[in-house]
Structure formats: C-alpha cells, structure tokens
Symmetry: C2
Subunit: 106 residues, 2 copies
Amino acid sequence: MKNIISNINKAFDHRVRLGIMSVLMVNEYADFKTLKELLGVTDGNIASHTKALEKQKYIKVEKSFIDRKPNTRYLATQNGRKAFQAHLDALEKLLNKDINIDNTDK
Amino acid sequence: MKNIISNINKAFDHRVRLGIMSVLMVNEYADFKTLKELLGVTDGNIASHTKALEKQKYIKVEKSFIDRKPNTRYLATQNGRKAFQAHLDALEKLLNKDINIDNTDK
DNA sequence: TAAAGTACTTTGAAAAACAAAGTAAATGTA
DNA sequence: TACATTTACTTTGTTTTTCAAAGTACTTTA
C-alpha cells in the first residue's frame, strides 16, 4: 500500500452517497422520495448523487409506474455491495491503525 | 435528528481530510512533508485541505525554522479532536443503524 | 556562482455540489 | 370541467471545491 488512504473509495467520500449506500445495504431497494426524506436533501441532489453511483455501477435504477405515478427505485448492485464493504474496511483500518510518526529529529 | 446523515460533519467528508485528522489524532503533530508522504497527494492539495481544516479551527499550524529550513507543523485542536470523534460516532451510528424502510405499499 | 533541491504558496482550470426552475402527469377544488 | 396544486422527478446554471502545475523564497551542492 502506497499511502494510508489508498483503499478509501473516492466514490463514497461524500456523506450523501455514504447515506445512500448505507440505506441500500440493508434494504432491497429504496425509492427516490424515501431517499430524499431519509437524507434530507433536495431533489437535484439525490438525482446527481444517485447518478454518480449508477455511473460507477454501484447501484442500479428501476423505473416503473405505481398507482399511475412514476416511481424510481434504487438498488445496490453486487459490485456496489462489495465495493462499499471494502470501503468500510479501509475506513476502519485507517482509523484504527497506529500511524506513529517518528518526530525525534524534528 | 432530522435525517440519517445530519451528524456527519461535512468538513471531514473528504478522504484527504479524514486522513489528516486520523494522523493528527494519534500524533502530537505532523509536518507538511510527512502528511504529504503519508497521504500520497500533491503539495497544493495538502495545502488546501489543511487550510480548510484550519479555517474550521479543527487543526492549527505552527511555523518555524528547522536546520535553517522552513517547517510547518499541523496539530489537532481540542475542538478538532472533539468534532472528529463526534464524526466517527455519527459514522458508526449510520452504518450500524437499522434503516428499515417500509416498502410494503410500493 | 550557477544549478538543483526543499518547503511550501498561489493560481487557474476542471470537476463536483447544489438549489432553483422546468416538465409532465395526477389529484384536489370551486 | 376548468384551474390550481401536488407529486415525482429532470434539467440547468451558478457556486464551491478540488486539484495539479507553476511560482516563490530560500538552502545546498557542485
């Protein structure tokens, strides 16, 4: 490992995306409105963060009509689950690691 | 609590700042070069991320000359330590929380 | 004393984040 | 049955952040 943050996934750096993934790890799916309410962010925000995760193939989108209204569901992909778990492991390692600097010559 | 990410600190959202704080939590101080090497990022990057943390008063900077060369040390403030620990607690809560959505009507 | 190295800082472009406005269909109101 | 409102998103454009390249001010080496 080159540096102490090399295994931290840039795609999950943002708290909104962290929140989205957390929700999708424990629920089979969540729809647009649910994510929006759980995370307390604006529509455009959910849209762009989900789009970013979708682009990485960490989540997938299913569009349908429920009660004649459009409904967008987000689901974590198998790949996304793996990547997120790896990210959490990397985070834990970073935080628990002894990063002891030799400052004796300073 | 309004939403599931409300206690996650925006200032620590970025992996570089997460790394800087992790280092400064367990070491009394770290200098510019050390941080740069530990994190594997460019000079300008370290500069801007430390500046951001400094602006929030989460770290402080001490400038001196060592062996006639300029040396910049970064230290976590008491406030910074508290905020970072709170952030970690919030992260842990988010990840361990049962965010179970009632999807029965969907 | 000229060239190279060290330790940063500044700058400007590129990317990301964000909220406001837009769209389109459904529903409520008079 | 029109018209306004709500729902469920998407699009747009501005602001903010990130980032690396270039710049500065020395110090060291040849």
